[in-house]
């Protein structure tokens, strides 16, 4: 599946899950800051991606878990270098370059952009066809 096709399907998922307009779903749009996603929407997005692409997404695979509560990873409201390294390793589909300049924990959800979803799906589909 081409990247454009993956994007089109993700666009449909986000329009459906978040009630946004087609033209709001740009590659750089952040799910939370730009598209208004709340925590429960992330679960909905996971469900809808599974349905759209026919694969199973494990808990914590697309969006992180147990990172932001760990004192090793977050200190004084900021993600530590160790925390950032862990996030990068767990979430290879996410671009953290902008976030690391000001790693405030309250902004961590903003790293999830439309593009990061496209990356994630491409990796999943690639791994599937390689298996």
């Amino acid at each position: 599946m081409k990247r454009e096709e993956v994007f089109e399907k993700i666009l449909e998922v986000l329009v459906d899950a978040l009630g946004v307009d087609d033209d709001e779903v740009t590659p750089d749009a952040s799910l939370t800051a730009d598209l208004g996603a709340e925590s429960i929407d992330f679960l909905d997005i996971v469900f809808k991606l599974e349905q759209a692409f026919g694969f199973k997404i494990e808990q914590g695979e697309l969006f992180p878990e147990n990172v932001t509560q760990d004192p090793d990873f977050v200190q004084d409201g900021r993600v530590t270098p160790h925390g950032l390294k862990t996030l990068r390793a767990r979430l290879p589909h996410v671009d953290f370059s902008k976030f690391e300049q000001d790693p405030e924990i309250t902004k961590v959800a903003e790293v999830f952009t439309v593009d990061s979803l496209v990356n994630f799906v491409e990796e999943k589909l690639g791994a599937q066809s390689a298996a």
Partner: protein, 172 residues
């Protein structure tokens, strides 16, 4: 006040489908205000069942189905109304039939699709009047450590009674 918006469970296929009915009755007090007449404007009272309460009825129908799948061990909370569309009102004398079907179910939560029908009191023929798709979260799995008041949960003693009086083993 009893916050139960279904009267009887007709069918329960575990992890798949639950069908429930609700009779809309003029004795329900909220219908006085929804909508009252207005003498000055020459408007007659117009009692119709509020759509949010139809959604509540579906949430209870689907919520029992989701809870039953885990033998009511998980705390189930209505997380999202993904879709709620109605094509006509329900009025006193109507019977609403709610059919909830599980689309997805795992440890994090569940997605249900729902159909609302009115069974006409004269002909008994059903007409689809709404579709309500919902998402439920098992909050112990998703919001660990966050405490919610008991009334946020779908299940209570009333539902146990409802399951029993409908002839099903509540199992909890």
């Amino acid at each position: 006040m009893r916050w139960i918006w279904i009267d009887r469970i007709l069918e329960l296929q575990p992890r798949e489908r639950l069908v429930a009915i609700k009779h809309v009755s003029l004795v329900e007090e909220h219908l006085d205000e929804h909508f009252p007449g207005d003498d000055a404007l020459g408007l007659d009272p117009c009692p119709i069942m509020p759509a949010p309460l139809i959604i509540e009825g579906m949430a209870q129908t689907a919520g029992i189905l989701v809870g039953h799948a885990s033998q009511f061990r998980e705390k189930v909370i209505l997380a999202k109304i993904s879709r709620a569309e109605f094509s006509r009102e329900a009025v006193p004398g109507d019977t609403l039939r709610y059919t909830a079907t599980i689309r997805r179910l795992d440890e994090a939560g569940a997605v249900t699709a729902g159909e609302v029908e009115i069974i006409a009191p004269d002909t008994l023929s059903p007409t689809t009047i709404g579709r309500i798709d919902l998402m439920f979260s098992h909050i112990d799995k998703n919001l660990a450590g966050v405490e919610f008041p008991e009334h946020n949960f779908v299940f209570s003693e009333s539902f146990r009674t409802l399951l029993r009086s409908s002839g099903f083993d509540p199992g909890f």
